[in-house]
Symmetry: C2
Subunit: 332 residues, 2 copies
Amino acid sequence: MRIALDAMGSDRAPTIEVEGAIGALRTLGGTFRLVLVGDRERIEAELAQHPDAPLDRIDIVHAPQRIEMGESPAQAIRRKPDSSIVVGLSLQKQGEVDAFISAGSTGAVMAGSLVILRPLPGVDRPAIATVIPTRTGHTLLIDAGANVDTRPSNLVQFAHLGAIYARDLMGLENPRVGLLNIGEEPEKGDERALEAYRLLQASPALNFVGNIEGRDIIEEKCDVLVCDGFAGNVLLKFYESVAAFIVGLVRSEAENAKTGIDLTRISQFLDYTEYGGAPLLGVNGVSIICHGGSPPRAIVAAIRVAVQAVESHMVKHIQNRLARLSEAQSES
Amino acid sequence: MRIALDAMGSDRAPTIEVEGAIGALRTLGGTFRLVLVGDRERIEAELAQHPDAPLDRIDIVHAPQRIEMGESPAQAIRRKPDSSIVVGLSLQKQGEVDAFISAGSTGAVMAGSLVILRPLPGVDRPAIATVIPTRTGHTLLIDAGANVDTRPSNLVQFAHLGAIYARDLMGLENPRVGLLNIGEEPEKGDERALEAYRLLQASPALNFVGNIEGRDIIEEKCDVLVCDGFAGNVLLKFYESVAAFIVGLVRSEAENAKTGIDLTRISQFLDYTEYGGAPLLGVNGVSIICHGGSPPRAIVAAIRVAVQAVESHMVKHIQNRLARLSEAQSES
């Protein structure tokens, strides 16, 4: 087996890629070979830093061009035939290698894969799958951002793609497939989710377990979580940042604390109930909605918000602004 | 000023509501009065538990019916005219009170507000606004789940609603408005986001700061974050659960650790790079995308995934499954 690795992709290429390649050859079992694709001179210089590198399992294929992050993916693929991404994917197309890995521009790898490898028959829109950590293990999120404006039938294809990945790579014989949605009930969701639910429910080859709400993602109620790439991308990027953020909160709390960490302060900071209920804006009045599980302090916070809303004449201000907006629109 | 509080809304009503009401009258300034709406007998019994309650500022309006969580909101509003939600909102409609607060069914409060209070002129779809904690303060998320299948013009109205709330209640004279999207550039997003960007950009009354990615929410690059209710609902529920989850991770780490907490383990657990790159599924080959900022171990993980994908014949399996799916569809 031969795996092509774009040596010019990451922010610190080819240092990271060469180090990763050597690490993989050392630690992973098997007899696979790695093909480093990129600037031969720079790759060789980097390899020379590792005198113990298993060079007998490493090949280099020269690719002098590099696709930069800012470039239009589709154009870059056409205009840079000697880029590491185009060369690496072409090696696979020609059967020279069995797989291609890149830490370069996501858009360019996607565009290149579509143009050079081509979608499989029956796949309208290939999708990106990403494993996310949950309370007890992992869930595969698909699509993580390759596609927006998807149709319900696209989501069904994502479910099949994800189910096979979960079986072949995560060892799950009959993976549970869930649909990201805003409620558990089949009648919840936007038009896409409603129709996707119906189609998934009617797919005998899938172990469809129903709708998964935002709060249930972490509870791992499914192995494959299907969604449009817009929600998937937002969710994934938010997860990354919020995890780092909360660990940072704990870290600074730990540094400031003399005796142990007071997690209560952090929990409170992250506790919405501290911020008062959620107002329904745009109606002719002040209407504030609290969680069903609110503690008394959440009710106090909501009352404070209600008092402020009345005192500040919020409804009047909304009315004036929206009236002006309507006028401007009817004039234009 | 008189504020109506649904005394029968929360999971532990009316205990929580009565306690919250007394807390608000004691701790918040001003001379506002509270009107507790619900079962008079139960409210009076609950008030009797608090001999020091400021009864001179509390009124009770009897409402014998209660709308349950499972009920269809629209039907419940019609069929239960004596419910605490309908009675409380009607008090406001009649000018008896200035605001209404409920911890009952979100759908019923929304439906009731729309039917009884009515939308303001120029507002096509009222939206729920929720304050979420960020690194340095808060951001107002609108819509948090009242509307799905929104049009771009709805998002512009949400922006105005949110901007006025941010000014009147958060004290921000010229709040920064951002659009939730999958990239920073104006040309990123689905059809709705693309058009909403254009409309927001063309709104002189708004301080529009552009697209906000999932990873930037926590960085508070805007004060008002505008989105469709599907993404808003998923994001909000996910945030709640993931915050509790990570604090829980820290807590159990703290309990197990003899000397201090090792946050590295938690960071690692939450670090995607441990799980390997993201495969693009559905193309005729193995194509794996890594972060541009990947460390060597992420490259190792991606190589492991590539090897597994090749060994398990994943592409062949996807091909077979999707071919069967296409056949089944063309037969039916």
